[in-house]
């Protein structure tokens, strides 16, 4: 019997990750993920751990390959949308994406930007990335869309003379700056230590 909870985290992956792990500590294990609804089934408290990663820059093929690889390791994976599946004209341009992920034109290649990974709790911290360089790269992936959004809104604000758009552009810079600080910190560590 599953229990449903309604949450919207948007692009705040760490908040989503912390919430899922709090639910796991309460004895609830993710069964299904929808646009806003998270369905859980009961489990022993602390049985599982969660990690959340942004994979919107990967192509559909690459997302599937990565998901299959994680499942081969014994993890469970859930893909979900970062933004409630709202799309204009069902075509998305992602200038920040890797090759194969720049144009998303079908339902199979968008709406899967967030990857939730579940593992059995073995007492060890759950980190998908070991080295400082990999962690810095992961922060860079999170930073890119916010930078593009801030730039786009900034240009629009200047073009139409809209302070509201200017305000939104500045707001979009906040997460970009946060991720930049984390990226710079991990890059500095990567200069002298591999992990």
């Amino acid at each position: 019997m599953s229990r449903g909870y309604y949450r919207y985290f948007g692009p705040f992956l760490k908040a989503q990750e912390r919430w899922l792990n709090r639910m796991a500590d309460r004895g609830l294990r993710l069964a299904e993920v929808g646009k806003l609804r998270y369905a859980f089934t009961p489990c022993p408290p602390g049985q599982v751990r969660y990690c959340v990663e942004f994979v919107g820059q990967k192509s559909r093929e690459e997302q599937d390959r990565y998901g299959c690889f994680l499942e081969e390791l014994g993890y469970r994976v859930f893909f979900r949308s970062v933004n409630l599946d709202f799309y204009l004209g069902k075509i998305r341009l992602r200038p920040w994406a890797d090759r194969g992920g720049r144009w998303a034109v079908s339902g199979g290649s968008y709406g899967r930007e967030i990857l939730i990974v579940e593992k059995e709790n073995d007492g060890a911290p759950f980190q998908l990335h070991t080295t400082w360089a990999d962690r810095a790269a992961a922060w860079g992936v999170l930073r890119r869309p916010w930078l593009f959004l801030a730039a786009f809104l900034g240009i629009m604000a200047l073009a139409v003379g809209s302070p509201a758009l200017g305000g939104l552009a500045l707001a979009a810079l906040i997460p970009a700056v946060y991720y930049q600080i984390r990226l710079a910190r991990d890059r500095r560590r990567a200069q002298t230590e591999e992990w």
Binding site: E53, Y66, F69, L70, E72, L73, G74, Y75, V117, A124, Q127, L128, H129, T130, T131, A133, D134, A138, A190, E194, W195
Partner: protein, 108 residues
């Protein structure tokens, strides 16, 4: 994967992933092998392992070796990968010898 392409120096993660498939292994076995052989010093995250395997396969240093039990993808080292591992071992030997000599000189 960040390697010094000019000097050919491999990262420890890359080197151990390469060594782990001298005997064909699947992903989970690679993680266990590396943790065991480093005495728990190096614990590979799944994302890091995936990146390393993708990069090594792209370089032609490892190749798929079919599927193991439970349909897990198995990897094996190629001839080019073996040569790269042997070059890295030689480089590490030279680094260790140089470091030992320098530290001894420092003590004298």
């Amino acid at each position: 994967m960040r390697d010094n392409a000019k000097g050919g120096a491999l990262t420890e993660v890359t080197f151990f992933v390469l060594l782990s498939v001298v005997t064909p292994r699947h992903g989970y076995a690679i993680m266990q092998f590396v943790e065991e052989r480093t005495g728990g010093r190096l614990v590979l995250g799944a994302g890091t392992l995936y990146g390393a395997l993708s990069a090594l396969e792209e370089k032609g240093w490892i190749a798929p070796a079919g599927e193991g039990g439970g349909r897990k993808r198995v990897y094996r080292i190629t001839q080019a990968g073996r040569q790269a591992a042997e070059r890295e071992l030689e480089r590490l030997r030279q680094v260790a010898a140089a470091a030992e000599e320098i530290l001894k000189e420092g003590q004298a």
